[in-house]
């Protein structure tokens, strides 16, 4: 099942991108050929295989957890230092809730 321009436009929305007509025209065949290639995985019977969601190797007790104690992190001014726009200790963005 070949990838269509409609599919690409749908994914574009999900990914918060805004492609030009030219980009879409270029991407459709490229993405299609890559996705077709990925179909190869269907040659394998994986019905008895557990998905490998973790790569880490457990050691002794779970080392990933620690006591829930606050630790020094960024100061507010450090966190805001790279913000395109900020004010009153907050990141400034366009209105989030749009009136219908």
């Amino acid at each position: 099942m070949a990838l269509t321009e409609k599919d690409v436009r749908h994914v574009e929305e999900l990914a918060h991108l805004e492609l030009t007509e030219d980009e879409v025209k270029k991407f459709v065949p490229q993405l299609d050929s890559i996705l077709q290639y990925m179909q190869k995985l269907n040659e394998l019977d994986t019905s008895q295989v557990e998905p490998m969601a973790q790569v880490t190797y457990p050691a002794r007790e779970n080392p990933a957890l620690r006591a829930d104690e606050p630790r020094p992190m960024f100061r507010q001014d450090e966190a805001l230092a790279s913000a395109p726009e900020s004010d009153a200790g907050c990141f400034k963005v366009p209105r989030v809730i749009e009136k219908e």
Binding site: I34, Y37, N42, T46, P51, Q54, S82, P84
Partner: protein
């Protein structure tokens, strides 16, 4: 004496004997960069103040007769996806063009605590996505051995910097081969440890289950010394392994006689004749050193690229969602509302390859496709990992070519993304399995021009010492000039 040709041990000896100062060494490297980087273009930005401040600190320690830290005075280049506090960190992307890192990556902290001097940040493919450094949002890096050719990627800048003596060692990142392949292309040593061997804290995430930080060097010993410094449990990275770090340097000179070397037939079928001879010569040399060579099978090799590109793009689409113009980085100057701000920011800020991968990743995770692609890929990943577990029950290390092709010309392969992906075939498998791998130089191709060829050695989880031992024996026996 050419200060930029020195190894870590040579630097140490000369510092201890007060033959050179760190300041001289660092200045010599900046001079070298000024002389060569105009054509190689390995560096994105330099950090002379930071390097010289560190140099003076170490020189003061020497003057006071204090003990030299393990990497005292060593000039290091750091790939621009690894955060260095107070320095710009662009990930070679316009979307982070003016972003300044608010903290140091653990690997960088450890290097500086060991006395190393950070010279600057190196070029790479944008967000580490690519195999040639041509996807950098700024400019391409050129292979120091042939300026018309690519240095490999995505850590091409780091590989080139070390090859051209513009740094003694460098840090890169490897997700599907991004340290090993540029090491092969640039004729240097590059290593990726076991997943979790080196903390990823401060590495800008591309694919979180596949990313690694690792070293480049001009010798196996230098790579071993850097790995020893940066490896180890880090509470700030919950995937970093709680496994002790052995003395990799001490392991180097162990005898390799009797070790079993596996040669997987799937990696040699249809092998490019330009490099096949080199790898065979490399294997023959290991045989002469007393290793037992055995053919074996890694039956799911053919599915690795499909598996890798589903998983890494899926993870990337999630990791790169944060570049939205809200908290840091580029924000589009014009927009009509919040969603439009996201879309224009990302569209203008990201290059084509990054967009392609975000699109692929979003697609394979989207409703209706998740099971068919992402879940399927995770199962295939388990099969690929199992191939290696079974292989390492038979052999101690596995030897393969690093890349199916020698360094290609700039611009030669930009039009066909799938072809570019297929060239990762020998390196993605280790990333999927989480095992360590190293690429060592293995001579040059025959005919003109004579291009670098790399040989990859793989070992089982946390067996980096074994990997380094075999690589070092190979290097000592003249392996780097074989063929």
């Amino acid at each position: 004496m050419d200060l930029t040709a020195l190894s870590i041990s040579e630097i140490r000896q000369r510092l201890a004997a007060r033959k050179i100062s760190v300041e001289e060494l660092v200045r010599a490297h900046f001079e070298r960069i000024a002389a060569r980087d105009g054509e190689v273009r390995a560096y994105l930005h330099l950090s002379p103040e930071r390097a010289l401040e560190q140099a003076r600190k170490i020189d003061a320690v020497v003057a006071a007769g204090g003990a030299l830290p393990p990497l005292a005075g060593v000039p290091v280049a750091v790939k621009d996806v690894i955060l260095t506090r107070g320095l710009r960190n662009t990930c070679a992307s316009k979307i982070l063009e003016n972003y300044v890192a608010p903290y140091d990556a653990t690997a960088v902290e450890r290097l500086e605590a060991a006395g190393a001097c950070i010279l600057g940040k190196t070029n790479c493919d944008e967000f580490a996505m690519g195999s040639s450094t041509e996807n950098s949002g700024f400019f391409a890096t050129h292979n120091p051995h042939d300026l018309t050719r690519v240095p490999g990627g995505s850590s091409g800048g780091s590989g080139a910097a070390v090859a051209a003596q513009m740094a003694t060692v460098a840090l890169g990142s490897d997700t599907g081969g991004s340290i090993r392949q540029p090491a092969a292309f640039c004729d240097v040593v590059g290593m990726m440890g076991t997943y979790g061997r080196v903390s990823r804290y401060g590495l800008v995430a591309f694919a979180s289950s596949l990313d690694h930080i690792g070293p480049f060097g001009r010798s196996v010993r230098d790579v071993a010394l850097v790995l020893r410094t940066i490896a180890g449990r880090d509470p700030r990275d919950s995937t970093s392994a709680d496994v002790p770090v052995p003395d990799y340097e001490a392991a180097l000179d162990r005898d390799v006689r009797g070790l079993k070397v596996g040669v997987p037939r799937e990696y040699f079928a249809g092998l490019n004749p330009q490099i096949g001879g080199n790898i065979q010569a490399g294997i023959d040399l290991l045989g002469k050193l007393g290793c037992k060579i055995e053919t074996l099978s890694l039956p799911h090799t053919d599915y690795a690229i499909g598996c890798y590109y589903i998983i890494c793009t899926a993870e990337a689409s999630s990791n790169l969602a944060r570049y939205d113009g809200v908290r840091y980085g580029f924000r589009s100057p014009q927009f009509d509302g919040l969603r439009d701000m996201y879309k224009k920011t990302r569209d203008r800020g990201f290059g084509a390859e990054v967009k392609r991968r975000i699109m692929l990743g979003t697609y394979v995770l989207s409703s209706g496709y998740y099971d068919a692609y992402y879940l399927k890929a995770q199962k295939v990943r388990a099969l690929i990992a199992r191939d290696f577990v079974q292989a390492f029950e038979q052999v101690d290390v596995i030897v393969t070519p690093t890349s199916p092709i020698p360094p290609f010309r700039l611009g030669e392969r930009v039009d066909d993304p799938l072809q570019m992906y297929l060239a990762d075939i020998y390196t993605v498998t280790a990333s999927l399995a989480g095992i360590p791998g190293i690429s060592v130089p293995c001579g040059r191709t025959k005919g003109e021009p004579r291009l670098p060829v790399g040989m990859q050695i793989l070992a089982k989880h946390f067996d980096e010492a074994r990997l380094l031992q075999v690589a070092h024996a190979f290097e000592k026996a003249g392996g780097l000039q074989v063929a």
